[in-house]
């Protein structure tokens, strides 16, 4: 018995098929159904296809964040519903910077942290980016209240959807920003974290993120 080796050219590699490929053969095709470079993102409320930059909504009860189209995002800008749309304002308050003494009073062990009001828990939560993603840390709530009394920026914080980002190194800066920006920063840092302190890539991402915030930030109107 002799066997003829398979010779190319007997058939075009992908003939125009009148018989639909069935079974596992359908999956063996080289072209992926879903290119990983550009995932097909859709509004999680109405299913509308989304652009790569789109709004997010927070579900405070489940502590989850959902992608939203512009129409659904506008629908949930008012409080009271299950979802709250994340606003896109970035503010800072150069008139009342956070002093080293005030920061030390919060006893936060890291130099980059963000704070947000969790309405389900009814209190402020402190978190920081780490190689494990977002890590929550203990916060002295009385110290926070004293700080908020002295800083209008901290009092302007909307619950669940906005955060206060405090950076102490290399320069001390404080911003009020959308909470989804905090999560995307934490995600980017986690993906690129190397070694003990994160490494040079993490420092580059951090400084680019801060440069973007400085450009977007408006001075808080009191």
């Amino acid at each position: 018995m002799t066997f003829i080796p398979n010779e190319a050219g007997v058939l075009p590699p992908h003939p125009a098929s009148s018989r639909v490929a069935t079974g596992l053969r359908r999956f063996a095709a080289a072209a992926p159904h879903r290119p990983s470079a550009a995932p097909d993102e859709r509004c999680e409320l109405c299913g509308e296809r989304l652009a790569s930059t789109h709004a997010h909504m927070v579900d405070p009860r489940n502590r989850s964040i959902a992608c939203a189209c512009t129409a659904c995002a506008l629908l949930f800008t008012r409080p009271g519903g299950r979802y709250r749309t994340v606003p896109d304002r970035v503010c800072h308050d150069p008139r009342t910077p956070l002093t080293d003494a005030e920061w030390a009073e919060l006893a936060i062990p890291v130099s980059v942290a963000f704070f947000f009001v969790n309405s389900a828990l009814g209190r402020v939560v402190a978190s920081y980016p780490s190689p494990a993603g977002v890590t929550e840390c203990e916060l002295d709530l009385d110290a926070w209240d004293r700080l908020a009394a002295a800083h209008p920026l901290l009092r302007a914080l909307l619950p669940d959807v906005e955060a206060i980002l405090v950076v102490r190194e290399p320069s001390a800066e404080t911003f009020l920003l959308p909470i989804d920006a905090c999560y995307s920063l934490a995600g980017a840092l986690r993906l690129n974290w190397h070694g003990f302190d994160g490494g040079s890539e993490v420092r580059r991402i951090m400084s680019e993120f801060l440069a973007g915030l400085r450009q977007r930030a408006r001075t808080l109107e009191v």
Binding site: M1, T2, F3, I4, P5, N6, E7, V10, L11, P12, P13, P15, A16, S17, S18, R19, A21, T22, G23, L24, R25, R26, F27, A28, A29, A30, P32, H33, R34, S36, D40, R42
Partner: protein, 161 residues
Amino acid sequence: MTEGNDTSAAGQRVEELLAELRARSGPQAGDVAEELVGCLVRLYGAGLAAVMRIVGDDSRLQAMLIADPLIESLLLVHDLHPLDTATRIKRALGRAGGGAEFLGVDEAGVAHVRLGSGCGSTAAGIEQAVADAAPETAGVRLVPRDPPLLQISRRNQAGAV
């Protein structure tokens, strides 16, 4: 046979599960699952391709591999079968019996088969046999057997069976 060692049963089961997932969790989850299945199938396909490169032209090893129904069906899934399309179709028609004759594959990838007269030569049976043996073909065109009237032609005795 269970889906563990039957490629077509496994393929069918995968489709059922994908349909169930789509129905329960929506099209997005379905798309992710599709890509997940594709990812795994392409990975082991690449592994099989590497094995077949090592086997190369060794006809004894090739014969041993395709004698195993599971291995043969997986090689077909990934276009790695050592026999070419025509040889596989002829082999399948021979096994089916009934005297069907393979005429060739056209430019569109459709296999042409002339029906025989035996009982293994039903249209549906031939189509299935070709689809199983050569899933890369785009379909089967069946050419009717020679009109029996030719057999009683007076002048063309060569046409008689």
